[in-house]
């Protein structure tokens, strides 16, 4: 009995050692990125680089804003992400409510057609979408960055599954009281589905903040670019100092990272939810 316990304890310590080592490997790129971003230029040319900067140079972070309209990139990213997230959640949840709770001719065929959207990769559609935007004169505009990406088959599918799980009683009761479907959606289904809406919203927020390809082809003007595009395009061109470049990368990442550490549970639930069918 005693040896069994000892073995269990040893196994546990071994597990911690392995997890700690792997965890360190996962953390190291972030740590190195932060340390590099605080180094003075001379430190970057050491043949055996050291983790700790010879002196801490906070100015690398303010330099980012002097070299590029980084504040503008930030505002663009925040605005575009906010609009896409709110729009996607609203449009997908309205459709999901209708598909799951209302009866109308052709409903299931339309829903099935919508699901084909899950199977076609965006790259096949990106050039025609670009042409539509160009013909509308929407290149280098917020509409162009936002509107084509507001319609999520995935979100509709996910939220429909969730709405189907809500007991019909509420719906029936509200119907008897004479509420119209939009009111039932807004006052009953939205509050009940808050965890699912939040989960989908977080996934959308994450995807949108990090999105690159569409923003890359939609924008030419510097003042319309988002963070991902700004950082990618100006490497080697304006950012010849890697410390400043990594400061820019950290500035683009860390706010979101911190936000999500607070909402870790919702996000994890969202991902787990998206994995279950």
């Amino acid at each position: 009995m005693n040896t069994h316990k000892l073995r269990q304890r040893l196994g546990r310590i071994g597990l911690h050692v392995v997890l700690c080592t792997v965890g360190m490997l996962f953390l190291l790129p972030f740590v190195w990125s932060v340390s590099t971003s605080l180094k003075p230029l001379a430190d970057l040319f050491e043949v055996t680089p050291r983790l700790i900067p010879s002196q801490v140079r906070w100015e690398n972070y303010s330099d980012v804003f002097d070299i590029l309209p980084f504040g503008r990139f930030y505002l663009n990213s925040v605005f575009v992400t906010a609009m896409r997230t709110v729009g996607q959640v609203f449009i997908a949840s309205l459709a999901a409510f209708s598909f799951s709770q209302l009866r109308f001719p052709g409903r299931d065929i339309i829903f099935f057609a919508l699901l084909t959207g899950l199977m076609v990769p965006d790259q096949v559609l990106i050039i025609p979408r670009y042409i539509i935007m160009r013909n509308l004169g929407w290149l280098d505009t917020y509409q162009g960055l936002i509107i084509p990406l507001l319609f999520s088959s995935f979100g509709t599918f996910l939220l429909r599954q969730f709405f189907l799980g809500i007991p019909k009683d509420y719906h029936e009761a509200a119907k008897l009281e004479g509420a119209n479907p939009l009111q039932i959606y807004w006052q009953i289904y939205v509050p009940l589905a808050r965890p699912a809406l939040a989960a989908f919203g977080f996934l959308t927020l994450l995807w949108s903040w990090n999105e690159f390809l569409w923003a890359l082809i939609m924008t030419n003007r510097t003042d319309m670019q988002v963070l991902s595009v700004g950082i990618a395009l100006f490497q080697g061109q304006y950012f010849t100092n890697n410390a400043i470049l990594l400061a820019a990368a950290n500035l683009a990442t860390f706010p979101l990272l911190i936000l999500f550490l607070f909402f870790q549970r919702q996000l994890v639930q969202g991902i787990a939810l998206s994995g279950l069918k």
Partner: protein, 309 residues
């Protein structure tokens, strides 16, 4: 509590709204799906048809598209650059998918116990999932820097050669796979954890009573019951690795040449740098076809190994 609250809300609604039969349900149904349906029609259906038609044309965006029949598709087979892009993409995808499954399952198993600091570890492995791919590429490009990066600094210290990681296609594949694993394993780990937690504890208890060893329990209970989750994750991992773009855009591009062009990079390059829109779309259709084949193959093989309990 919540239920009582809701039923008052329902009654309250009833007071607000004029009594009477619910309006035309079908009309409401169409109205509520209208925004989604309009967007889907324009940005999916019409775009898809346009994409298909344009793949039979030669078009530089400025002049009118020229109908060239199957030429773009024929060209695919003779185009060395496409073959290179395809080879790179497969060389990234296959090892990435296999290693990703192994590592993420191992991490999920390690965290599926009552060990301390679980959520801390989970957070560590999960952080790269939250990080912008462009920033990931930027950070790792510096880590791989042949002269001043810490990876080569470390290799030199232990007496190993210092490869030019990103400027040689062979090492660049390895480098990109490492980054993909670092940034993707945390996601699969979360889904594996959810899958593990869905396995009823009684199964393990029964097996323990029968005297099954830890390894036997893993092989006979955990693995078979996780196969639907694994199947789902493999499909997602294949599709996402076949579409790698951001990382190679940031990490392996030198000037306008890419040392490790992938299929999506080639689509971008042909369409938006060389302005051969018709051909770029054809390459994208080839990608769709490859994804389709891989997925179909998975669904075919599924019967052999996926266990639906």
């Amino acid at each position: 509590m919540a239920t009582a609250h809701l039923s008052t809300r329902v009654r309250h609604l009833g007071l607000l709204v004029r009594k009477g039969r619910m309006g035309n349900e079908a009309l409401w149904g169409y109205l509520l799906i209208a925004p989604m349906l309009i967007g889907f029609t324009v940005f999916f259906l019409i775009a898809l048809i346009a994409s298909f038609v344009l793949s039979f044309t030669s078009w530089d965006v400025i002049s009118t598209p020229q109908w060239i029949g199957m030429d773009n598709y024929v060209r695919l087979f003779r185009d060395d650059e496409f073959v290179t892009a395809l080879r790179n993409t497969i060389a990234i995808t296959v090892p990435n998918v296999i290693l990703r499954m192994i590592f993420s399952l191992a991490l999920a198993l390690a965290l599926n116990s009552d060990i301390r600091f679980r959520s801390f570890y989970r957070m560590l492995f999960f952080m790269p999932v939250l990080t912008m791919p462009v920033a990931i590429g930027t950070i790792w490009k510096w880590l791989y820097d042949p002269a001043f990066g810490p990876i080569n600094g470390f290799l030199a210290r232990i007496g190993l050669p210092r490869p030019e990681w990103l400027s040689n296609p062979n090492t660049a594949v390895v480098a990109v796979i490492i980054v993909l694993l670092w940034s993707g394993v945390g996601y699969d780990m979360i889904i594996f954890l959810a899958g593990l937690q869905a396995i009823p504890a009684e199964y393990y208890e029964a097996a323990q009573l029968d005297g099954a060893s830890g390894w036997r329990r893993f092989r006979d209970i955990t693995l078979p019951l996780l196969t639907p989750t694994t199947f789902f994750l493999i499909i997602i991992a294949i599709i996402s690795s076949l579409q790698v773009f951001d990382l190679v855009y940031v990490m392996t591009r030198v000037g306008n040449a890419n040392k490790l062009p992938t299929i999506v990079y080639y689509v971008y390059d042909e369409g938006f740098r060389n302005f051969r829109m018709g051909y770029a779309i054809t390459v994208a259709w080839a990608l769709l076809f490859i994804i389709f084949v891989f997925t179909l193959l998975q669904f075919r093989l599924q019967r052999r190994w996926v266990h639906y309990g």
